[in-house]
Amino acid sequence: MAAVLRLREAAFPRHGHVLWQQSPLARLRPAFRSRARNEPRVSAPPALHPAHHAPAVWFLKGLKAGLSVPAIVLFASYLGFGAVLQSVGFPLGAGLASTLLVWALPAQLILVGGIAAGTALPALALAVALSSMRLLPMVVSVAPYIRGPRRSLFWELVCAHYVAMTVWLEGLRMLPHLPGEARIPFTLGLGNMLISVSMLGTLAGFLVAGELPMPLAAGLLLLTPLSFTVLMVRNAAGATDWLALAAGFILMPATLGLEGGLDLMIAGIGGGTFAYAVGRLLERRRARGRS
């Protein structure tokens, strides 16, 4: 329990960049750093004078950063997904492959649920595409932090594969404080650790699903919406974020009757655009009020 709490403290710092220095990584940093003998102990913050490491070291640091509370949450969420796989009779190997290759829980749930319901495959592909479209703005917004000083299209495409909810949130939080050349190997380490943990969760969920009593099975399935909601509340900063959150949440049940993932498009693109427009309006009004 104490270990979990300590992990939580490390994984969810409350004051952004200041607490990055208290993460397990940063605490280990002096061990890796080749500091000049007579360099003063208290110099500039690490963000300004980052240590230089080989890419393999940054990859290992990424792996290590992946072992955090978000990894436990992913494990638990994929435990629920594994249970769904088992309940609809979806083959385990293909289910594990979906975690590795699709790496987006909502899309995986739509895929597996659709197949179980006998949805036509082209329609299902469209539904998956519509549900995964949220990844585009996610990748766009985190990409400036992933790409280093030298741009490599190949590695940017590889790194983009790892971007889903967790890597997006953790990337936006951690990457800005890393030196440019560290970002791609760190992202690969972080992403590979999180996918590995999630595949383990999928496997475990599949294997235990049949054994769980109903209240616990429902608890497993609630983990995803519950943890995503709390994480979004935690990450909301400013009127636009709150408006987008509320618009998406409120528009969804109103459009639930629409077929083929259209509900997601209306709630997402419509709600997001509405939030953006109102957020800008509020900002401008505040700016005018000040002047």
């Binding site: 709490l5 939580r8 969810f12 409350r14 609809v88 009779g89 293909a94 492959a97 290759l101 699709v102 899309a107 749930l109 649920g113 179980a116 006998g118 495959l121 998956v128 549900s131 949220r134 585009l136 703005p137 990748v139 766009v140 917004s141 990409a143 400036p144 741009r151 940017e156 495409l157 983009a160 594969h161 909810m165 109903m214 209240p215 099975a217 429902a218 608890g219 399935l221 609630l222 995803t224 919406p225 519950l226 709390v230 979004m232 935690r234 636009t240 974020d241 987008a244 959150l245 509320a246 618009a247 998406g248 528009l251 639930l256 997601l264 997402g268 693109i269 997001g272 655009t273 957020g279």
Partner: protein, 115 residues
């Protein structure tokens, strides 16, 4: 069940064509088309708002139109558990762990008490 008759190979092919391709295309497009989108631009803010709203919509969908064992749980209890989770998160020094724990407790206690 449809899935029971499905072979591992057929399911793998479906995961590739119906799962992987329609998902990865957005990630690749974002890298290819989003390369010129810089941080702080209006487009950047718009896509972030859309991403947030889409995510909120996905979460709402899991709550309003659930699958599996959650179907048997009343909507009020599903929503109450998530609302309680957010309240727990805010009450316990913005701890995500505490929030999830409170939400799960409310759900499971609610199910057990109503039976």
């Amino acid at each position: 069940m449809t899935g029971a008759a499905m072979s591992e190979g057929a399911a793998l092919l479906i995961v590739l064509l119906v799962g992987f391709l329609p998902t990865e295309i957005w990630r690749s497009l974002a890298v290819l088309a989003g390369r010129r989108v810089e941080e702080g631009s209006p487009v950047f803010h718009w896509v972030k708002a859309v991403a947030t709203a889409l995510l909120a919509a996905v979460v709402a969908r899991l709550l309003f139109a659930p699958a599996g064992a959650l179907v048997a749980v009343p909507l009020a209890l599903r929503l109450g558990a998530v609302a309680g989770g957010v309240a727990g998160f805010l009450a316990f020094r913005r701890s995500v762990f505490a929030g999830v724990l409170v939400g799960e407790f409310i759900l499971i206690a609610g199910i057990v008490l109503s039976h």
